[in-house]
């Protein structure tokens, strides 16, 4: 962020603006958690889970957050490069189905896991080909694959059943649940730690790796990036593949958590991912955004949605997420404006 440090030298006020821009996300997280903790949940007594800040509740929130946490970082890098992937929900649903099918047909954990990741990479590559080779607008290309992947996932599940699950002579293996539910460290499951590891790797990639620099350059000024010898096409293609793999990891996590392969299990994930990334201060136009901040954004959204569930009925959820999306977009805009004023 050399541009930021440069503006900081220019005036004193921009220091505050930059501070706000860089750290507001942590304040939002603290504020959300504090507010939810202050709300006396016994008063509402819908779920009787007790206080928000108890150990079981925190573990539960982090456990169900694994899919969005694993996707957030990769999605950030893609948006930093100025592109978008609306198909991640469908990729997640399709890979969840593939993973469950492999497992239920007797494949052991490791090969099933790797094959599903490979499937995610292929799905991501399809997006990459549509966008980079065939030059179709990212929104449209990934809307096409959203529909395509969802259709394939629905077709893989036989008629009359809603998801791949035990029954009809086939039984889900006993280990299937472990990845998404079984606490391996600090009582948190492997899925969560994989999400943390992926995020750490992507933070390093963004700060030290070529791909991170290329992504920022592509998003900041595609022409300049091309002229300075960056293969923007390959960068974008690679980012789509990474997002596909991340979505596959999310699909595995969700599938393992619910112990079934639900073709619709990723529905709405693209919205959550956009929301999380915007909340983390990633610019819509590309060029700017941090993996870590999106991770925190994901924590905020999950705390908010799970926390809301204990206070208000479930049918408030769509409204809350929609309003949060608009608020995040507006705040994102205002904060980046503030940075620009100086």
């Amino acid at each position: 962020m050399s541009s930021q440090s440069k503006t900081a030298e220019l005036s004193v006020t921009s220091g505050a603006a930059n501070f706000l821009r860089n750290y507001y996300i942590y304040f939002v997280l603290v504020a959300v958690v504090a507010l939810l903790s202050l709300a006396n949940l016994d008063q509402f007594a819908l779920f009787e889970r007790g206080n928000f800040l108890n150990k079981r509740n925190i573990i539960n929130i982090l456990r169900v957050s694994a899919p969005i946490l694993v996707v957030a970082g990769a999605f950030t890098l893609l948006m930093v490069s100025g592109y978008i992937d609306l198909s991640i929900g469908s990729t997640m649903g399709l890979t969840a189905v593939i993973y469950a099918m492999l497992a239920i047909n007797g494949m052991p954990f490791v090969p099933a896991f790797l094959l599903t990741m490979l499937a995610g990479a292929v799905l991501g590559a399809i997006n990459g080909i549509l966008v980079v080779r065939l030059n179709i607008t990212p929104v449209i290309a990934t809307l096409i694959t959203l529909s395509l992947f969802k259709g394939i996932a629905l077709l893989l599940v036989q008629d009359g059943v809603s998801a791949i699950k035990s029954g009809g002579g086939l039984k889900m293996p006993a280990w299937f649940n472990d990845y998404g539910r079984d606490g391996v460290f600090l009582k948190l499951p492997a899925a969560f730690w994989v999400a943390v590891a992926v995020t750490l790797v992507l933070i390093v990639v963004q700060n030290r790796g070529k791909l991170g620099k290329y992504a920022a350059a592509t998003g900041g000024n595609p022409t300049a990036a091309k002229l300075s010898g960056i293969n923007t096409g390959r960068t974008v293609f690679l980012l789509y593949v990474i997002v596909g793999v991340a979505a596959a990891l999310a699909g595995i996590a969700r599938s393992s958590f619910m112990s079934l392969g639900d073709p619709l299990s990723g529905d709405g994930m693209e919205l959550t991912a956009i929301l999380v990334v915007l909340l983390g201060g990633t610019a819509f136009s590309g060029g700017e955004g941090r993996v870590l901040r999106s991770f925190v954004g994901a924590l905020i959204i999950m705390a908010l949605t799970v926390g809301m569930l204990t206070i208000v009925p479930a049918y408030y959820q769509t409204l809350v997420i929609g309003a949060a999306l608009l608020t995040a977009a507006a705040t994102n805009h205002l904060v980046s404006q503030k940075g620009k004023v100086s």
Binding site: V139, S147, L148, G151, T318, L326
Partner: protein, 341 residues
């Protein structure tokens, strides 16, 4: 390179069909040939009644497609229309329900029906205004804004209906508009309204300044502003126009089913976008036509109803839609590039 200078002067003198006319005819030809192919493959497909059904069963999406197409031409998305359909329908039911109900879902505000639909329409327009506010004033990309307002609109509908539907305690007049048949035929009032809307939209698009400005804004926003066009105002109007159409569609659907269902219009925004794209409306703005969009809707209708006729699992529709849009975009780009070589 000399050929460039050779061909340039001759161009304007040839009375040549516009690119839009070319694409619209292409789409129409594809729609008709797909219908003929489907007639060969699917038993009982080649019937007059079936042709009528292709249009009448899709009146809602075609009507939404008009607003969405105008916005796309101006370079903006509108993905909020599906949510607005749910919202205005639910609002019209809630406002019209009588005040003495047995439980929360059967108790409304008890307004007279006319006032109820007027207020529901205002609710729809409010979402349109919200779209305009965020897109025009804040300069936030329209796809993100309208995804957000879609969720807000549907979210409000879900809160009002507690996630299900309201269908009791409605006045007699409520089911009238949506089920009214005209000219003693099976064609319903909403279909006629959709037809009228199409005619008006084509006229506005072709012959009126309003329509031409829309193209201008989409083709070159900077030039439009520099030549004195109030872009903000125009896009605001387009969002209100699109939300208004969606509001009317929602009210008519609620009247047809005599219920306000918070999941009504689910994915309709995507279908409206899909038919516009099939019809050759360019996502980058400045190109496309309502006629093309109409035939795009026919293509989608033929493909999905033929698939149903061939007893393919309904799950196929997602794949068919994806393939249709993909082919449409690739062939249209290719055909235009060839034509303007």
């Amino acid at each position: 390179m000399s050929s460039v200078t050779d061909t340039l002067p001759t161009r304007p003198t040839r009375s040549k069909m516009s690119d839009e006319g070319f694409i619209s005819s292409l789409v129409a030809a594809v729609a008709i040939s797909l219908f003929l192919i489907a007639s060969l493959l699917v038993p009982n497909f080649f019937q007059w009644q079936n042709v009528v059904n292709l249009v009448t069963n899709n009146w809602a999406v075609i009507a939404l497609g008009v607003g969405v197409s105008f916005l796309l031409v101006s370079g903006n998305f509108d993905l909020s229309v599906g949510g607005i359909v749910a919202l205005s329908g639910v609002l019209s039911v809630w406002f019209a329900q009588s005040t003495e109900g047995a439980n929360a879902l059967s108790t409304g505000l008890g307004l007279p029906y006319g006032l109820a639909i007027a207020c529901a329409l205002l609710g729809a327009l409010a979402i349109g205004a919200l779209n305009a506010l965020f897109v025009v004033r804040f300069g936030i990309p329209s796809i993100i804004v309208t995804l957000g307002t879609m969720m807000v609109a549907r979210g409000i509908a879900q809160v009002i209906t507690h996630g299900s539907q309201r269908n009791t305690n409605l006045p007699e007049a409520f089911g009238y508009l949506g089920n009214l048949s005209v000219f003693g035929t099976s064609i319903k009032f909403p279909v006629v309204l959709m037809g009228l809307l199409l005619v008006v939209a084509i006229f506005v698009e072709r012959k009126m300044v309003f329509g031409r400005i829309t193209y201008w804004i989409g083709a070159n926003p900077e030039a439009a502003t520099l030549s004195g066009i109030d872009r903000a105002r125009h896009i605001t109007k387009l969002y209100l126009f699109s939300a208004g159409i969606a509001g009317v569609v929602g009210i008519l659907l609620a009247s047809e089913y005599k219920s306000g269902f918070s999941n009504r219009g689910l994915l309709m925004e995507f279908d409206a976008l899909v038919i516009a794209l099939l019809g050759g409306v360019a996502i980058a703005g400045g190109f496309g036509s309502v006629i093309g969009m109409f035939f795009g809707a026919i293509i989608l209708a033929v493909v999905t109803s033929a698939a149903t006729g061939l007893v393919l699992s309904p799950d196929w529709q997602f794949i068919l839609k994806a393939v249709a849009v993909f082919l449409a975009i690739v062939t249209q780009t290719w055909a235009l590039a060839r034509r303007n070589k």
